[in-house]
Symmetry: C2
Subunit: 353 residues, 2 copies
């Protein structure tokens, strides 16, 4: 593997000194970029895009060619694992992801196979290898997966949901079956991320998009313990020295317990006070985030002021990875993203002297 020319992200994740705060943006390869929309149109659809290692590589690199970002993130979907387990992922216009075969009964859960990532998700591993080769050490590549709880919500609901009625009914009325599914998913996600690391990913992030819909105790029972299992599993495999970022949307109240999993970094959404989060987690973990993506609707000077406020909130020293608090949305003007990236570049060195 080529030596990294820019290791700012990895250093910040390990809380080692950096010259400036690294920055990347969740969903940075996405619909707000005209070149992404062009590639996607050429591919024919979102599934054709992430199932083609060449096209996935192409869109992964697009934001790096526009902006001075400190990381690439694998272009893929969070639902590749359930798809590989036989659920039949498809996308309905305006409705988001759906599964042809949702998991509802004990028999459905018992029938789920064991995941072999190279066999079942070879297109993802090929994409990782293709991207790492194309990056040639320019910046690190972040691999990722959905968390077991988040994957389970889609698998049980059959798609997106507003009320999480089916999954919560399962969790609260038949916890043993729920745990059976989550344990299976924790094992699959561990294998999946381990395989991404073996293919060349230099950091990994677990997206717990829906952990925040759980109550205080239920989050620990149904989401966090399985992410902890993944962290431990990666440490025992190829990921011994690979930084792990755990991002729970709506998890700001729970960061001390998230830090206790042994992860390297906690991703924060914009409801968290970054400075307070740093004080509460001490020097145990790095923090990633946490600008409201909606601020990118504002003019560049407002964006710059928000970047300044966040850098100031974290304060001097390493351990901060600048990012949004959730994925960038399609209607954002790419020039406003430039304002964000440039503000981090210009304003953050003062915090690293």
């Amino acid at each position: 593997m080529a030596q990294l020319k820019n290791d700012r992200l990895l250093r910040a994740l390990r809380r080692e000194p950096v010259d400036r705060t690294p920055v990347w943006i969740m969903r940075q390869a996405g619909r707000y970029l005209p070149e992404y929309r062009a590639t996607r149109a050429r591919a024919g659809g979102i599934m054709e895009l992430f199932r083609s290692p060449e096209l996935a590589c192409e869109v992964t690199l697009q934001p790096l060619d526009r902006y001075d970002l400190d990381a690439a993130i694998l272009f893929s979907d969070i639902l590749t694992v359930p798809d590989a387990l036989g659920l039949g992922l498809y996308f309905e216009a305006g409705e988001g992801p759906r599964f042809r075969n949702p998991v509802r009964s004990a028999a459905d859960i018992a029938a789920l196979p064991e995941l072999d990532p190279e066999r079942d998700l070879g297109y993802v591993m090929d994409a990782v290898r293709t991207i790492v080769k194309a990056l040639d050490g320019r910046v690190p590549l972040i691999g990722f997966s959905g968390s077991p709880w988040t994957l389970a919500t889609y698998m049980v609901e059959g798609g997106s949901t507003r009320d999480f009625a089916r999954i919560k009914t399962l969790a609260f009325t038949d916890p043993a079956r729920m745990h059976q599914l989550l344990a299976l998913l924790a094992d699959a996600v561990t294998r999946y991320l381990d395989a991404q690391i073996r293919a060349g990913a230099q950091a990994v992030q677990v997206f717990d998009t829906w952990g925040g819909v759980l109550g205080h105790a239920a989050y620990r029972e149904f989401s966090l313990q399985y992410m902890a299992r993944i962290v431990a599993g990666l440490r025992a495999g190829a990921g011994r020295d690979i930084p792990v970022i755990l991002f729970t949307k709506g998890g700001g109240l729970w960061i001390e317990d998230i830090a206790a999993t042994g992860c390297d970094c906690i991703g924060l959404d914009w409801t968290a006070d970054l400075g307070a989060a740093r004080r509460h987690t001490g020097a145990r973990v790095a923090l990633q985030g946490n600008m409201d993506p909606a601020i990118l609707r504002a003019p560049p000077e407002r964006i710059r002021a928000e970047v300044a406020a966040l850098l100031d909130s974290f304060g001097p020293g390493s351990g901060h990875v600048f990012n949004l608090g959730h994925g960038i949305t399609p209607e954002i003007d790419p020039e406003n993203v430039r304002a964000l990236v440039e503000a981090v570049r210009e304003l953050s060195p003062a915090y690293h002297r």
Copy 2:
């Protein structure tokens, strides 16, 4: 006004000794009750229901006839204030509330009238008087309003929204105009709650349903400061000795600042750790909540275990009002609500000896 026969709620809100933890349920007069559905069908629709003082009284009392609850809450809608300001509230099947005349431009905001609650919302004041008379001191009546920020989201978006794109664009690109609207709404809500108190409401709750979509700093700027203004305004009027409950869904990270408004009680959603919230707010405020409404899908013994866990988390002493962390949903079995209320009644006296 008749002397209260059950003042458990008011005592707990003031953190005075009680014999057991009071309990009421957000949206307790609602679609999960067959008698509510019957009255609503008879009325012809939701707007006919809350605009009729007699029918609003009828449904307000229905849950009290079924369960041993410690409070009634005015049956109304959170969007009565914008409707009275001329926005033209209506309900579309499956779509929730909508406004015929959303507020979008500076001219729209400048044209909003000053609210006179007895003149413009006389049907609500009549409902309060009718209910208080019918209650005859059985339990206190809680009045309520949406928070300025929450009302503004519906007024600017024109209805429900998933991404809050219009309101956030307004807040981040033209904060002066946003503040003009919020100040007007804070004044209107203060008058509205003051009028409910004069009509007989013995406690009031401000529902900040959407404060939690704001970032840490933006919440203080666009939501909390206006709720603080309402608390101060009520203290200067008829509400000098009337307990005020502030409920921000997703506000668990911000309770110390919410307590600093001078409110009597903070409503918590189920993501908060009730015991930790009590420690963080000290003896300054009471706490209300915070069971996940989805637990009501589980069998009675699971509901009872959750009640036990929450009572134990708060611990001994007064200052807890048992409630869900959000409104009860339509598909819940009324017998499961009975299990909740009975569990609070049976298990809570041990914490008040």
